[in-house]
Amino acid sequence: MPPRIHSQGIGPPRWSSADSRKDIARLLAPGLLGHYKTFEVINIVAFPPQQRTPLNILCLVVAEERDDAPVGWHFLNTNRIELKGLEGWSFGVMRYTKQILDLESDLLAFEQNGKWSASGDNLPLETLTAQPSQFVPPTTMDAVPLNHVLKNNFWNGSHVFEWTLKNKGALQPLFDDPPLIQALSTAVRAHVAIDLASLSDRLGNLLIQLPVTVLISSFAQAPSSGDFQVYVAWQPQTTPRPLRAAVELKNDGAILGYASATVQSSPTTLPANWARGLHRGALWDEENNVLLAATADSSFISTIVIKGQLLDPEPRVFLLRQRDGTLAPQRVGVLRIGFENRIGEPEDDENGGWTKQRLYNNELDKLKRQGRFFQYNPAAGEQATTHEEALQDIRGLLARHGEDGAYLWDPYLDAHDILGTLFFCQHASAELRALTNGDEPENAKGSHPKPTTDEEYVDASARYIAAQRAAFADSQSNFHGLRLEYRIRRGKQAGPGFHDRFLIFPKAGRGAVAYSIGHSINAVGTVHHIMQQVDNGQLILDAFEAMWRRLDQPEHLVWKHP
């Protein structure tokens, strides 16, 4: 189908606040999604320094069936939330409830003047952009990110309308220092189960959640036949209407099964030859053309293994030599597998396990292609080649993710390594940081005696820094487009040393991405090791930031440009 042309250009017509308001009004009709009587507003707000008007951090409006008297706005936190490292700012978690009938007029007012005034005070939200509605199913085996900020979306799912803040400039101080968002999230969670840190891209947004409560449904597998079954129970005050249940089973990119049936009883069976894979179910109101329930990708557990462990009464004991030469007794409780129970039959693929193996290989290839997994296994005499390959891989990562910066963290890092890696970052003025422990690689150990006194330590440090600076000078670079700071962990205030090697991209794709390099840059690729993207990049970044901030004295600076 060719793209439609409208006044704003090519593509679907732009969604407006009025569209959202009208859609919400339609869905609020009693008995359509629920019998809503009130709505609850949770509004997380920030008070920047010298600013009287609060900033919206997140505003969530939830339609509810409770029939309580409205509660005026109040802060759930008795003391304003303050974050270390964001001086002068404070935050609050505001809550109030109103009659559901007020929601439409509050939306109309918001549409007309860009201010959210449901609480009686004006919260400026002029810059928000309305988005088409979405249906958010409850979380099952795969995370449904929006559920981190929605309220109790555990049953059928919710229709969600969102107004997004595209320009988050006012919240930039939070994005500049991601641990602040984590700290704010932790503080907010003490009052309400909203996980801001998991959905920091939603900061500044307004969300309206309409949970489906008019019925309750459940998708299950019939134990005997393996068919799908849909259980539906309507609220007694609602006349049941025709529903269509559909379920799809997919695996390995193929649709293995699909079934659809009119729901006439509970349970309604959706007969199909169900094999392995992920399924999604949906419940469609044919009379009103509205989704009343859906599941995220789910699967049924066919086998579980329960292993019981028994603590052997006899411990393992041994002496461990301490740094001071003394021997410290150690004691380890030894666990023995007492029993193993397998419930259900282990499920193999229908192709004798070959498909499972192929999927594994595909996944491995995909990770390599995506640059998330690198393995180096040099044969004798090929170390120089594989070292160069590994450096090329790092340079590739810098090109792919380094637009907004890259941090290299390696205890053995030196100027030569930095020249071979960060200097290859093509992105002009990307913030590059390098952090070393100033350790000597194994093959160079002994070239300088290890300092033992404070004086020797200071001398060694000065000598090291001078050598590093000389190396940069010797590179005869023009340092064009380079923005690099190189620090060393030195001195009593510097905290403990470090061992792991990471390449961190603080803002790749709006979130932090970190690679465990697996070996020091000076010998990367020369022995068998793996470089791979790690799951929790933000936490690695937080750890790096904490150490970087500690090393902010002149004696920690090795080199900086400009």
């Binding site: 609850e40 509810e64 409770r66 409850p138 309220k151 109790n152 555990f154 049953w155 309400v192 189960a193 909203i194 019925l215 309750i216 449904s217 459940s218 259980y231 129970a233 309507w234 609220q235 007694p236 005050q237 509970s266 009464p313 006899e314 411990p315 004991v317």
Partner: protein
């Protein structure tokens, strides 16, 4: 033919004039030692004494052995017992300074007992021998015992032995109770001197036995002595002697080691008496509650309930605090209910109100393990204190208070799904916790309307306008 007539036959013949047959081989072996008491711990040597008797007199029958002894055998055993009785009557200190004769006598009585209780059937009159009684009492009062492991024993056994000594020295009854099962009944197999001395003293001079054990300073020795006596005798000894080690040992042997499932009415009374005595000593009582009520022991419950009816207030509180609260999806708190039922029958109303109120306070604070993070309730639950909570609702609450408690739970239930929850498990848990709290109050009303057993099975449903099926699917109920 059971053993008892044979046993009676031997004693009947032995008290009549006739030939004596001394245990010559046994005496010869024992007299080979200058100090026979010093070799009692030598297992090989004492085993040879046992063989010496067997060689001379053959195997003694037992109830478990269906063999019927011949008249000649009975005559020989009677001759041996005749020798024993005379020796006991005539024994005096100066004639047996090293106790060769006394050790031989005790070895013979052990042989003649053959797993049965010889002493209750023995003729009276031996208590006239004051020197004998004094010597036996000295044996008992001087008994000590230590436990150690041989070289090369596993580390955990060595550590357990050391810990046992340390706990004993510190009179840490609660910890001792839970350590002792590691040793199974090792220390209850005690040779012949301890049982024969204790049993003979109990037969002829029970007051002297009480005095003798009053200062026993080793729990292991106390356990050995307690295990020799029948239940009634040991309970009486515990009451009479006042020695906390003996008292603990009697409780441990009776309730834990022997796994008695029920006691005779007279023994239950003695146990109640003993508990009441101990209840006067708050620290020991608290330790006992940890030792013997965690987990609850069936044979203790009725006596404990009776004791609580008149025990000091703080003993009641210590009892309530000792009840191990756990979540169960089916009614399994029978033992606690058994205690509380006995208590309820024996205690006057103010005392019942004291216990019910303490239990209710603890139950509310516990709230089905609400303080344990990630403790999820997938179904309604019962608790060990349900009987007391129903008692509280019936006997401590007014109608208005009861209704208010129920209303408060219903309000919380209605509000629960509108609170913010991190997961479906959290909502379901909160609902099941509230519904579990709801149950005893509703059952109390049911009991008031129509008297019935306080412990209940099943659940009282709470009606919701959304219908049962809706609620079942929503809260994943079965």
């Amino acid at each position: 033919m059971t053993s008892v007539p044979v046993f009676a036959q031997i004693i009947t013949q032995a008290v009549l004039p006739g030939d004596e047959e001394p245990p010559a081989k046994l005496l010869e072996r024992i007299r080979a030692h200058q100090n026979p008491l010093a070799v009692l711990s030598d297992g090989a040597e004492t085993e040879s004494w046992s063989h010496a008797v067997l060689e001379q007199f053959g195997y003694m029958y037992s109830q478990a052995w269906p063999h019927v002894p011949s008249p000649a055998q009975v005559a020989r055993w009677s001759a041996l017992l005749r020798w024993t009785l005379r020796e006991l009557r005539e024994w005096h200190n100066e004639a047996d300074p090293a106790r060769h004769q006394l050790v031989a006598i005790l070895r013979v009585t052990q042989y003649l007992s053959a797993g049965e209780s010889l002493w209750p059937a023995m003729p009276s009159g031996l208590d006239q021998n004051e020197e004998l009684i004094t010597a036996l009492a000295r044996f008992v009062s001087g008994m000590g015992a230590t436990i150690c492991t041989p070289p090369g024993a596993p580390i955990h056994e060595e550590e357990a032995a050391t810990r046992l000594q340390s706990l004993d020295a510190g009179s840490d009854w609660a910890a001792l109770r839970h350590l002792l099962p590691k040793f199974l009944t090792l220390f209850l197999t005690t040779g012949f001197v301890v049982p024969q001395t204790v049993l003979s003293l109990h037969r002829y001079a029970s007051a002297r036995l009480s005095q003798a054990v009053a200062n026993v300073g080793s729990t292991i020795a106390a356990l050995q002595m307690a295990s020799c006596l029948p239940i009634t005798a040991r309970l009486q000894l515990a009451i009479d002697c006042g020695n906390p080690r003996i008292r603990f040992a009697v409780m441990y042997v009776t309730l834990v080691a022997e796994r008695n499932t029920g006691l005779l009415p007279a023994d239950k009374k003695l146990l109640t008496h003993l508990l009441l005595d101990v209840a006067m000593d708050e620290p020991v009582w608290t330790a006992w509650m940890t030792a013997f009520n965690q987990p609850p022991i069936g044979a203790l419950q009725e006596s404990l309930g009776q004791a609580l009816a008149t025990a000091p207030d703080n003993a009641v509180h210590a009892y309530v605090d000792s009840v191990m609260l756990s979540i169960s999806t089916h009614q399994r708190h029978g033992l606690v209910a058994q205690c509380l039922r006995a208590f309820s029958s024996a205690a006057p109303l103010p005392r019942r109100q004291l216990l019910w109120t303490a239990a209710h306070r603890r139950w509310v604070a516990w709230d089905f393990d609400a303080a344990t993070p990630d403790r999820h309730l997938t179904e309604l639950a019962f608790s060990e204190l349900d009987y007391a909570i129903i008692g509280y609702s019936i006997e401590c609450q007014t109608t208005e208070e009861r209704d208010q408690a129920i209303q408060s739970i219903v309000q919380d239930l209605n509000a629960s799904e509108y609170l913010w929850h991190a997961s479906l498990s959290d909502v379901v848990t909160m609902r099941n916790r509230l519904l579990s709290r709801f149950q005893p109050y509703v059952h109390a009303i049911s009991v008031i309307v129509q008297p019935k057993e306080w412990i209940f099975q099943g659940h009282y449903p709470l009606t919701d306008t959304r219908g049962d099926e809706y609620m079942r699917l929503m809260f994943r109920a079965r």
